[in-house]
Amino acid sequence: MNMIIGMLPSVLMIVAPILITAIGGMICEKSGVVNIALEGLMAIGACTAAAAHVLMEGSGMNHSLSLFLALSMGFLTGGLFSLVHAAAAINLNADQTISGTGINLLANGVTIFASQILFSSDRTREFRMGMQTDVLGIYPTAYIALVVVILSWFILYKLPFGMHLRACGEHPGAAESVGINVKRMRYWAVIASGVLAGLAGGCVVLTQTIQYTSNTINGRGFIALAAVSFGRWRPLGVAGAALLFGTAQAFSIIANNIPALRVLPTEVFNILPYVVTLAALVLFSGKNYAPAAAGTPYEKGAS
């Protein structure tokens, strides 16, 4: 039991960014746009936050202020790049999987390119001190994630805005007919997924490492994407899924301290979250919970 409590802080550290990103992805799909660019948007947010923090830290700025500004910048650049996906998917009827893939490829290049220009290296310079844990040993990112989950639930299910947004993902034609601006709603949703993924990227880099490298995000965005479908497009479900993945991942670190598990290669635990997701997707298949219009462009007046 003590061990489980001891695990909790590292589980929360790993879960928080995945959960924040997944909630963004969920909002986006609820509006009818699939965003597989989450991985790339996280990378862009992480690189921005790491670069901003190390530069501000170097200029002698107050530590907390620097962290806050770094996260905010990750948040903003994530939103900025998601506009590319929004314009392509919403205005120009582009294939959403292709434009998402394009952003993922672009993020690979842009982040390291920027590091080359700023720090003459294929990674950002190391910062001295990232985020600090509170008295319980928990990083502030866990509380940010909690707020994001509650807010998303409240907005999506308790406010007219949320209902309109969900309507755009289920039946955009019907939504339009009662005066909802489908394209504008979808823009808000894509931007929400962008800013949250950017913020989450910042959370990863400021809690789990000391610099941004091409390996920092390492599939977290894709796991978040899976958490959306595994969590059946509901805030609580998505939170549960993210918690499961995070625990599985944290296990690979913790297993090192358990003699009985040390005989297994760490890779066995690395595989765990992915196998669990696959198994879950097969087990819970059958009924399709996805928003009906997710992934299809909406053309005014068509059908």
Partner: protein, 366 residues
């Protein structure tokens, strides 16, 4: 005027060329914006393409051979993506299928019977088979359990990466990053190529790649299997109604798709390295294959040309770095190209707008 525009929109090849040019244009602007000389980027590209170094006037055919060698896995992974796309599936799992192919080829190379010719054939065949299985599973999950192939392939990519590490760490002479050297019977090197190209890594894999391209073309365009697959891609319900077995179509096409990526893994393992690698991360050929196929419109010829372009970009990376151009600019150009491809539908929207204007003019609406 309208007719030339219309022709451009309808011609997929022309759109691809336009998209590539746009990618390079934006990339060039970006290089200039950060205060570097874009001309150096093009010098590097030219040297990777022709072997000719503009700065010192020297010629070295090795660069051409390396460009060709780099393009082999790009083309094969492009075929992998393209084959699935033609059936209406988005195979993001090329990377995982590639990794499994690479892993099994390495395993057979180190543990298989050291018989001349038979050894490498066995290794390459097992790479193809495991790639097909790794892809086929996705098709089965999709057809039987309606699991989105986008999500399942992404999961399988990571499963493949870690599984590969587990397997390769058990191979003879394994350290944290490499295994023992392969026996020479497992290598697919080509002495003749090595002699005429100043010891480039160009190997027999290029012949396998050409065979794969021809096979892709033949299956897609000339067989009823390919016809059924393309029909499924166009309209699943219509295909089912006309008696085409859709579930079988999906599973088989994902398996064939995976086979191409598996072959790519086998060729890279036995052609470009003399020892087995314990992968620390992904090689990204599978991911880049997505872009290759999209640029090439998922056709055999288009994918080959696009793969050569990507091979050229990859080979030029080191040359660019030597000329103070961050090599990541090539990734940026690739990403931009894919984003611009996604905007292809925008061209169609523009065409519709023009048609509407034309029609309004004809009927005299003001």
């Amino acid at each position: 005027m309208t007719t030339t525009k219309k022709r451009l929109v309808d011609n997929d090849g022309a759109v691809s060329v336009l998209v590539v040019l746009m990618g390079f244009l934006v990339g060039t602007i970006l290089v200039a914006l950060v205060g570097k000389n874009p001309l150096n980027m093009y010098k590097a590209l030219f040297q990777a393409l022709s072997g000719y170094n503009i700065d010192n006037g020297r010629m070295n055919v090795r660069y051409i051979a390396e460009t060709l060698n780099y393009s082999v896995p790009f083309i094969l992974c492009g075929l992998s993506m393209g084959f699935a796309k033609r059936v209406g599936l988005f195979n993001i799992g090329g990377e995982g299928q590639y990794i499994m192919g690479l892993t099994l080829a390495q395993t057979v190379a180190l543990l298989g019977p050291q018989v001349v010719v038979l050894h490498w054939i066995l290794a390459i065949l097992s790479a193809i088979v495991i790639g097909a299985l790794w892809g086929g599973v996705v098709g089965l999950l999709k057809a039987k359990y309606e699991v989105s192939e986008v999500v399942s392939t992404i999961m399988l990519n990571y499963v493949a990466l870690y599984l590969s590490r587990i397997i390769c760490l058990q191979l003879p002479g394994a350290t944290t990053y490499k295994t023992a050297n392969f026996p020479t019977t497992a290598l697919i090197e080509n002495r003749f190529f090595q002699t005429i190209t100043h010891n480039s890594l160009l190997n027999n894999g290029i012949f396998m790649m050409v065979a794969a391209v021809l096979l892709f073309w033949y299956i897609m365009e000339k067989t009823s299997l390919g016809y059924g697959m393309r029909a499924t891609g166009f309209n699943k319900d219509a295909a089912r109604a006309s008696g085409i077995p859709v579930v079988k179509s999906i599973s088989i096409s994902m398996a064939i798709s995976g086979a191409f990526a598996g072959l790519a893994g086998g060729i890279v393992a036995l052609g470009s390295f003399k020892y087995g690698r314990v992968l620390a991360g992904m090689d990204n050929y599978g991911f880049d294959g997505i872009a290759v196929a999209l640029v090439g419109n998922c056709t055999a010829l288009g994918t080959t040309l696009a793969g050569l372009l990507f091979g050229l970009l990859k080979n030029a990376q080191a040359l660019m770095q030597g000329k103070q151009i961050p090599k990541e600019i090539t990734f940026i150009i690739q990403g931009l190209i894919v984003i611009f491809i996604a905007l292809r539908s925008a061209l169609k929207l523009y065409q519709e707008y023009l048609d509407k204007r034309q029609l309004q003019k004809e009927v005299g609406v003001k």
